[in-house]
Subunit: 554 residues, 2 copies
């Protein structure tokens, strides 16, 4: 039986029109670093978005399905592009300004951006790349910055304000199929080319509803949101769309992401809710210790991107009365994910184990753990497996492979269409997720998984060990076994048997490494993480001096 | 460009599975009137729902697309039917047990219910109708009640518990198109046959997300919900689906809807949130005055169904610390509607004008006011028009007309597909709706609308007037003009000119009635509302002694 309900699509256009009409008085406040911040009402933002759409279509010839890039900070003009470009049926490609130049070039060419809207302050980054960006015909410059660096470039150059000025404030928004692409964001893994995720109107709309829900960020028209997480990073966790949908004012930090201006803008504009990675909050905490500001307007801050140290969460709560909420997500998940809201009826202390977990998923994110042997892992709080997810705002493929078709790499998608997150952890009976490892860092030994992170933490707790990295190496009998590489503290000398005995008191016998090697330093990536693929390669190349102990126990 | 997101449907099945897995410890608590309430976890409810689906399919032969009726109070078994029937691809038809017998018979036959699940306590209502219910092959009786009244009936009779006992706790849930019907609810207008609204999986899913949002009822896993509004009335405002989706425990009042047991169950089970019509809250307030109970667990109650007197809202807040939130909806809207959450940054007193309005609509409900001449009415807080709405959980047609096809009566749907709510009001600049009249009660005079309710309120403020009803009557020059019918208080005698002068100080001159009649009593409907169609008919039949004053001003 067919229902009798209206068939109305879920689109970014609806978010634009609704925000303008119903929440027209809410504000977008962009920090300018000196003097008064720039303030525009949602109504003005929507009118300017409409003018932008007209300009892109009339003047630059942008058609439905074409790609418009943005190389911008978090500011009002970026939000205008967020709303205008998808609403006119085109696709907004947010460019990560922190990517290496070659990757940035690669993704602009891969997505075939016809236009790039760029902040003036980022022109020094864009200008040298322009000759390599084969599809880019127009550059639109927003905000202050020296335009002369673009002199002589092949693309036509426009000033954002001049381009939109006097354009019509109405646009014949197309009725868009909710499954069409609205926005494009590339995720840069550690291996291979960046992979594009093409968010749909449907996924953005549903995700916005989720952010505004009690299981999400509890964002409402009574809030002012400070999105510190960049708008080029999974749509600033979807918060600008959600704020415009729900009528929350938005404080945009622009390029002022250092602790001091962040503290200044919080004191001055008084946001109620914020979202950022732990590093930002760590920096803000130190800044407030050094030079106190009134940050009492903040009721909650959402932390994600990497695991937040519980000490940081407690520090914010105890010293500033700000509740820190842990969340987990990925670009492929729009990016939400799980949120660590504890169950009801608990004391503050009882809430902590739930709050430091990755949290629970909403109904729209189905989740399961898969064991090394492919079987499902029970939700008992201790059995571990790789996290796989499924749902209407989760990627089911990547954008445009070699032949232009969506592609589904085997290491990223299961045959039945679930996304493999590459994260390993356990889920409690009541659905709370605790992640322990990246899948590539666990050792798959005889159908069981051994956590390299756990082994490393135990080894580094030994008084003579400076650093330790554990990696999986091939083993004929078990498939994989752990190799422990250890950096000793200066002037110390322990033997492997002692270290293994130390471990044996802390972990199961079958998890104990047989292979050991001393190294001078653990190789690191550019952001300071252990670079385990270097260790694995050195082992494969026979460069390590490996001692093999008698297999013990297993 | 197509997106790369997964194409996962929004279904009731997802709500069922998610609630069972992630919120398995939440509870459904059904009040039993004596002794301990019945308690089941979401996990148990989901298992029993699955057994019910197996029973309906295996034993009763229910197939996808067929209709299963429920004639039940708010209790756990009704929730099990809510989850099981749509998940197996069938349609749950909730039967309004307060309908007259002939209407109940009509809708069961119209929807072709094959099965009716009925509470034992409601058998005296169902038994006499059964011989007339031509499509009903099976009756499933849940809960206590004398089954002997069914002796000799044509349909097969089953006991709910015996039927589901021992059935498999797995079911091969079909992958359902989200636009298929999941539930069916008839709305009984004052004229014509009842009209069926067939909710889709999509509409129920999106509506549930909205109830759990900050713009909705802010319902979460930290709540215990008490839905007093019946589950046969627009799915209890969608709250049971939302609670199961978000993990809120549910206190089901079953048939104990009188003020005394409601107060008892609130004190005993301590719900945090409730939803009901104003009459319920008025009764509860009096009950608490007469015999105080501890109702401090309630943080918010949502009131809808009819306009809530501000005095009632204030009384709950001041005497019991419970915040009353006004909401508006219709069966055709799933039923939400607008919610009167005030904007941020206001004092408690400044919030009141917003809180006594009908509130604002979320992004998924597009709304507009249409004037008598068909033009759009500006959102200026004073211009009035008929409210029209559009969105993914709003009916676009009614279920099965004479030929079985969906039908779209002209007085209910605009040519461009919007639902005409039949309500008249104004919308403020920031989107807050204030309803003033039913469309059929406004007087369309020369392209302007005159509020009969406003005229009545002013007339009834005159010290000599006991009651007054104003209706539209045909007028050659203006299309329609108001007729004022007045009931004087005993022993008083005023002339019409005096009353008109009294009105003239309060309303615009062109709104003043020329036609006046004294009547002995305003005719009322069975629920005590003014029955204006009786007055209009008496006027048309020449039964009223009408005095025509000189036209004034207009």
């Amino acid at each position: 039986m067919l229902s009798t309900m209206q068939d109305v699509p879920l689109t970014v256009t609806r978010i634009l029109v609704h925000g303008a009409l119903v929440h027209g008085k809410a504000q977008v406040i962009t920090w300018t670093g000196d003097g008064e911040p720039q303030r525009r009402t949602f109504r003005d933002v929507a009118l300017r978005s409409t003018q932008l759409a007209n300009a892109l279509h009339e003047e630059l010839g942008v058609e439905e399905g074409q790609v418009v890039g943005s190389l911008m900070w978090n500011n009002c003009e970026h939000l205008e592009a967020y709303l205008a470009v998808p609403s006119m049926g085109a696709v907004l490609h947010t460019l990560n300004l922190r990517l290496p130049a070659d990757q940035l070039t690669w993704i602009v060419n891969h997505a075939a951006d016809r236009v790039i809207i760029v902040n003036g302050s980022l022109l020094p980054l864009l200008a040298p790349l322009l000759p390599l960006l084969t599809s880019v015909e127009h550059v639109v410059v927003a905000g202050p910055g020296d335009r002369s660096v673009l002199d002589g470039c092949r693309a036509a150059v426009h000033d954002y304000e001049e381009l939109i000025e006097g354009r019509p404030t109405r646009y014949p928004w197309p009725v868009t199929d909710e499954r069409r692409a609205a926005a494009l964001c590339y995720t840069s893994g550690t291996t291979g080319d960046p992979k594009g995720v093409a968010y749909s109107h449907r996924s953005i709309y549903l995700h916005s509803m989720q952010i505004n829900s009690m299981e999400g960020f509890c964002l409402s028209a009574r809030d002012t949101l400070l999105p510190v997480v960049p708008m080029f990073h999974a749509n600033a966790w979807g918060t600008p769309h959600a704020a415009f949908m729900g009528g929350a004012s938005i404080l945009m930090p622009d390029r002022f992401l250092q602790p001091a201006p962040l503290a200044d803008m919080i004191e001055s504009v008084r946001p109620t809710l914020s979202a950022a990675v732990p590093t930002i909050w760590q920096g803000l905490l130190s800044e407030l210790d050094a030079r106190p500001r009134d940050v009492s307007s903040l009721r909650e801050v959402y932390i994600g991107g990497s695991t937040c140290p519980p000490s940081l969460m407690r520090a914010f709560e105890e010293r500033h009365g700000i509740r820190v909420v842990h969340a987990w997500g990925m670009t492929e998940l729009s990016p939400l994910g799980s949120v660590a809201h504890p169950p009801g009826g608990l004391t503050a202390e009882e809430e902590w184990p739930y709050r430091v977990s990755q949290g629970r998923f909403p109904a729209s994110v189905e989740y399961r753990l898969t064991a090394a042997d492919g079987g499902l892992v029970p939700w008992d709080g201790s059995s571990v497996g790789e996290l796989e997810v499924r749902g209407p705002w989760i990627a089911g493929a990547y954008f445009g492979g070699a032949d232009g078709e969506p592609f589904r790499p085997e290491d990223k998608f299961t045959p039945d269409g679930w996304l493999k997150t590459g994260d390993v952890g356990a889920i409690s009976e009541d659905g709370f997720l605790t992640l322990t490892d990246r899948a590539k860092d666990v050792i798959k030994s005889g159908g069981e998984w051994i956590s390299s992170v756990e082994l490393e933490n135990h080894l580094m707790a030994h008084p003579d060990v400076a650093e330790a990295a554990v990696v999986a190496v091939p083993d004929e009998k078990w498939g994989e076994r752990p190799l422990a590489t250890v950096v000793l503290k200066d002037g110390t000398g322990v033997d492997y048997e002692t270290l293994r005995a130390f471990l044996a008191e802390r972990i199961a016998h079958w998890q104990l490494p047989e292979r050991w090697a001393l190294i001078e330093e653990v190789p690191k990536t550019s952001v300071g993480k252990f670079d385990k693929k270097v260790i694995r390669r050195r082992y494969a190349d026979g460069e390590l001096d490996v001692t093999q102990l008698d297999p013990s126990g297993a």
